[in-house]
Symmetry: C2
Subunit: 202 residues, 2 copies
Amino acid sequence: MTTSRDDRPAGLRERKKARTRAAIQDHALRLFIEQGYAATTVEQIAEAAEVSPSTFFRYFPTKEETVLYDRLDPVLIESFLNQPPELSPLAAVRGALHAIFDSLDSEESELERARQRLVFSVPELRARLLDQVAGGLTMLNDAVAKRVGREPDDFDVRVWSGSLIGILVAAYLASIEDGSDDFIGYFDRALTRLEEGVPLQP
Amino acid sequence: MTTSRDDRPAGLRERKKARTRAAIQDHALRLFIEQGYAATTVEQIAEAAEVSPSTFFRYFPTKEETVLYDRLDPVLIESFLNQPPELSPLAAVRGALHAIFDSLDSEESELERARQRLVFSVPELRARLLDQVAGGLTMLNDAVAKRVGREPDDFDVRVWSGSLIGILVAAYLASIEDGSDDFIGYFDRALTRLEEGVPLQP
DNA sequence: TGTCTTTTGACAGTAGCTCTCATTTGATGC
DNA sequence: GCATCAAATGAGAGCTACTGTCAAAAGACA
C-alpha cells in the first residue's frame, strides 16, 4: 500500500492524538494573536480545544512550546544532509533553504509568518527561539564537518558555522525590520557575502 | 576630593540600596551554585539576604535576572566606541575585548566564570542570555555602522556584525566545550579567521 | 464481549510574580 | 532638634504556570 505523504495514520488512537495536538496548537496560536500571549491562559486554550488543562500539559510541556515547536527545523537539516555531495557547504545550505521554503504553499507560509511575528514580539518566546538556534548551530556544525571531511571540533569549521548562523540571523532580522516578506532573498544575499569573505569597506 | 572609582556614594539611601542589591545577587548566586537553580526559591534568597520576598522583586524583576545581569556588557560597548578611530572595526573589537577582560583581577574573573557556567547549564538562563546577545547585536551593528561611516541598516554592515557575533558565540562555545579558561585566546583566533574572510577548505 | 492499556479529567499543591496598603526609614526645610 | 515629605519595606491576598496522583473513560485486541 502506498500512502502519499504522512505515512499510515494507523489506529484511531494515533489519529485522535494528532488531531488533539493540532487543535491545541491552532487554538493557542489564534488566541495569542487575538488577545495577546500573556493575556491568554492555558485554561482558555484548553477550553477552546475542548480538553482539560491536565491534557494540555500532556501534549505540550509548556505554554511556550505551542508556538515554538517548529516543524521546519528537522526538515531543513535533513534536506541539507541530502544535498548532492559535490556541492560546497555553502551551496548546500542555499539548496536546502530553497528546497524547503519554495515548497510551502501560500497558506502554510502565511501561518508560518504569523507564528514568526508572534515569536519575535514576545521576549519570552524570542529568547527560547534563540536557544533553539544555538542548538541548530551544533547540528549544522556536525553536518558541515561531515561534508568537508573534518572533525566537528575543528576550529575552522566552528568559526564557519558560527558566522553562517550569525549571518542568517542578521539577514532574517533585517528582513523583519524592513517589513519584507522575502526573507529567502535576504538569505541569498547574505550567503553571497559570506562566499566573498564578508567584505566590509568603509 | 578624589574618589578612586565608583564616584560619590552620595546619600545613605543610595548606598543602602546598592548594598541590598549586591547582597541579593551574591546570596542568589551562592545558593544556586550550592543547591541548584530550580531548587532555590526566591523565598530562600530573600531570607538569606534578609529582606522580604516583596523586596526581592523590587530589586530584580525575575529570579533569572539575578544571574543574568551582566555588568561587563555596557562597559564593553563603551570601550569599543572609545577605541582609536583609525582602527578597523575588527581591530577595535579586538581592542575592546582585551581592554575589558585583561583588566579583571583573578577573583572577579573567577566569579564571572562561575556565573557563566551557571548560565550555560540552565536552559532557562541560557535562552535569555542569547536574547541579550541578540540585543547586543543591534548595539554592535550601530557602533560598527558609525565607525565605517555607513547607515545602520546597510546590508554589508548587518552581515558583518552578524558574522562577528556568530563567530564570537561559536568561539565561546568551543572554549567551554574544550574546558579551556582562555576564551580570550579563542576570540582572538576567531577574529583572525574573520579577518581572512572565513576560509574553509575541505 | 471481556480484558488490558492508554488517555483523560478532577483535584491538590508548589512557586514565580503582581498588586495593594499600612508601616518604617532616610531626606529636607525650619 | 523637629516636623514634614518621599522613598523603601513588609505583610498578605491573588493569579497563573506547572507537577503529581489517582480514578474514570475510551480505544486495542483477544
